[in-house]
Symmetry: C2
DNA sequence: CCTTGTACGATTGTCTGACAATCCGACGCC
DNA sequence: GGCGTCGGATTGTCAGACAATCGTACAAGG
């Protein structure tokens, strides 16, 4: 009888909030790659205990945004080109797997792909913030992986994208051609709706390779400027 | 000149050892699914501080072997059939992706598939412990995923496997037909070496479906016996 | 009978403070 | 240049404390 099924209350622990704040700071580029995240300094700055900071740092490390070296502390992850390539091939595997199940997937999942594209196009036209654009963009790719029907694969893809989110943020801050991006995804979905799986796979592969190249150049620029003005 | 590249020294923190011990206890079936893992009790039992236990529990939760409910503590994960199905479809995606890249993969990766098969066959004949058999078996599947060439996909597959390791252990303890298993994998690799990717894909799909069915029945048996003698 | 309010023990989440182990860099010595 | 040593900084781990929250039992009230 009672129809309160949809009600959820997200309760937030201190650790969650600390992790969220740190995540934001990292993704907004407020701290450079390689910066050490000292426990005591963070604890004093944020007004929480060191153990709380430790737990939050463990979360970030698990997400790949930071790296822990035993007895040497946690540092903001430095993305090397190999890691970017690795993540991109992994994403390609997952998204292509979803794409190939286009016809077997739930209609709801297919529709959420189209919906994500609409949101992205809308965000691109009403010049939203880079962060919002990135989020909208990524939700398209997440929707592709969701076509596999496996919630865990979706989570895995999300953790992969989290790892390169830093590089993605850089790219999106540099690049202003969101319109081209929208066009690429629109073409992808049109091919899918037309039933041309092979064509869509080619389009997606091309898109991902392009994205990888963009990230690599963005990283290269960052590391060069970092070395010139240390 | 210096050829000490291969030397590594494994750092063992207390947290690691606690997590390892708990993992072993869970996988050996020493604690039933759903059992609460109380921090104070564990701390006293293992002679370490509560904070250390907390960190170790966070590791297990991240691995999926345990589940945390806020303010209610950590419990040994109860595998429901949906979760098993989800993990199995995810594994199928990853392993099929590796399999389809058989020809493009490194020869070293192909060879490690064959090597894993040899180890498994050897373990099956010299009746090794169930735990060793499971490990050898899983390393075959890990080698398949490694064919994708992405280290991260390998890690993801491993975390997926960890989640159902509990059910796998149950299956391997019940089942005694390791010879059949060896035969199935041997057929798979022969198809691959013969270049018959489609045949290999069918064989692998069939094998994974069979494994899923086994796990589901094992889980069903466990839950029934659990309810009859609570 | 069913609902509401309350008291209590158990457990978690977080804080404080402490200390040994480890790492890093500098300094002095051979 | 290589080697031992010292000191500061930081982490890893520990012990103890307390409020917040949960589960349950129990009393009160319609």
């Amino acid at each position: 009888m009672s129809s309160f099924e949809t009600l959820r209350l997200a309760h937030s622990s201190t650790v969650d909030r600390v992790a969220e704040e740190l995540r934001r700071a990292l993704c907004d580029g407020e701290v450079e790659a390689g910066t050490p995240l000292r426990e005591i300094a963070l604890a004093e700055a944020m007004g929480v205990a060191r153990s709380t900071i430790r737990e939050a740092l463990a979360v970030l490390v698990a997400e790949g945004l930071a790296t822990r070296e035993p007895n040497r502390g946690v540092h903001v992850t430095e993305l090397d080109p190999d890691a970017v390539h690795d993540v991109c091939t992994a994403r390609a595997v997952l998204e292509l797997a979803g794409l190939r199940r286009w016809h077997q997937a739930d209609e709801a999942d297919r529709e959420s792909c189209r919906e994500a594209l609409r949101s992205f196009a809308e965000a691109a036209e009403s010049d939203a913030s880079p962060a919002e654009l990135t989020a909208a963009h990524l939700s398209i790719h997440a929707a592709l992986v969701a076509l596999t029907g496996s919630a865990r694969l979706g989570a895995l893809a999300e953790s992969l994208t989290a790892e390169i989110r830093l590089a993605l943020a850089k790219v999106d801050r540099i690049r202003r051609n969101a319109g081209e991006q929208v066009q690429s995804h629109r073409a992808l979905l049109e091919l899918l709706d037309a039933g041309d799986l092979e064509g869509a796979a080619r389009e997606l592969t091309h898109h991902l390779e392009h994205a990888e190249a963009s990230m690599l150049t963005a990283l290269d620029l960052a590391s060069q400027s970092g070395r010139r003005q240390p």
